[in-house]
Symmetry: C2
Subunit: 228 residues, 2 copies
């Protein structure tokens, strides 16, 4: 979008911003993967590491926010460049919240690692992979200003919701079957919900990217259901 921009320093700022956002995205994706691995491998030391990484993610958010404000103050961008920066300010918050979700998953994993596993966690890592792919794709759509790729994220969300529902129903069955499963199944339900929410953040980012590129609001499933 800023491809036609001539100001070299400004170009450098935008490159810098894109790089920082991608780096933060990669960081929170890794935390999500690690938090789920802490569960599946019963590795509470890894869970501790995820919890400890929260501060670093917060620093990245503050860092990117400040960069956005600096660009706004020094370059006073207009039109599509302004939309890029203001969108980045919102996206960074979604990325930080994904980090928070990884921390919550890691904390629940630590509890679950204290007791025998309820069942092989086959679908939970699958759900985590799906959610991470969505985050990655949404961020790529942002840095490349690619609305079509962002549309793919919107479509991908159905897959994620379906897998969450499958896990949810399996856990419900475990609860019904034996009340001794209820505590663990409830914890696993919240972990699955957290992973679905990671996907929701990717969805939010994708919707903002489409709005940024096309100026057309597709934010939130509800609005997508209606003819625009």
């Amino acid at each position: 979008m800023a491809a036609t921009h001539t100001d070299k320093a400004f170009e450098q700022d935008l490159r810098n911003l894109r790089e920082k956002l991608l780096a933060m995205g990669a960081k929170v994706e890794a935390l999500v993967a690690q938090s789920v691995r802490a569960l599946t491998d019963r590795d509470s030391a890894l869970a501790e590491k995820v919890v400890g990484a929260d501060r670093e993610v917060n620093r990245l958010e503050v860092d990117i926010d400040d960069l956005c404000r600096r660009i706004l103050a020094l370059r006073q961008p207009a039109a599509s460049d302004l939309r890029l920066i203001t969108t980045a300010l919102k996206i960074v918050t979604d990325l930080e919240r994904i980090g928070d979700l990884a921390v919550n998953i890691a904390e629940r994993a630590m509890d679950l690692n204290q007791v025998p596993p309820l069942a092989p966690y086959v679908d939970t890592p699958k759900l985590a992979d799906l959610a991470q792919q969505q985050v990655k794709k949404a961020l790529d759509a942002f840095v490349s200003g690619d609305a079509a790729k962002a549309e793919e994220v919107l479509k991908g969300d159905d897959l994620l919701d379906a897998l969450f529902l499958k896990i949810f129903n399996e856990l419900l069955a475990y609860m019904m079957e034996d009340s001794r499963n209820i505590r663990r199944a409830t914890a696993l339900m919240f972990i699955a919900k957290h992973l679905e929410r990671v996907g929701d953040h990717a969805l939010n980012v994708a919707e903002m990217v489409i709005y940024m590129v096309r100026g057309k609001d597709v934010r939130h499933p509800k609005s997508r259901e209606l003819p625009e």
Copy 2:
């Protein structure tokens, strides 16, 4: 913060922005209250209304985002004014997500209204009230640039978490007691979790306000636990 500002048109823009944010805040607070009333009064028509109001909330978000961009483009604010606008851009997203949570609660209420109630929902409306108060206080802190009031929101979150835990454990007990309670108790757990998340959004807003006013980052409980 912008009190010393001389530019009348700019002052009007900021007043306009604050009013729109407060109006959107009042709107999503009302939706949260209605979504819980739809559950406690078994009023699915009210739940439908909440679901239908989602589009209006999305419009408010787009409207406020556009106003922020217009202010940035036309007034090119600096320093504290710039921080005010960029914070508003983030806050509006939190408000919109609160609206989404109200919709999710309303949808679950519709399901629960099809079956006999599990138990009197005494604490759930209490949790909703607490969450709404937190949202209102956080927004007031923003429009008045009052970091001390924002600090109160941070403190208030513990109360909210405690009440959520109480509800959670009660529902767990219902599940253990009779497997026929599990489906309904699980739905009520997610409703309580949604209300806790409304409070988390208020917390996020409050943390952003403190950062806006003091330039000191207190975002996220984790960072608060550590000496600054």
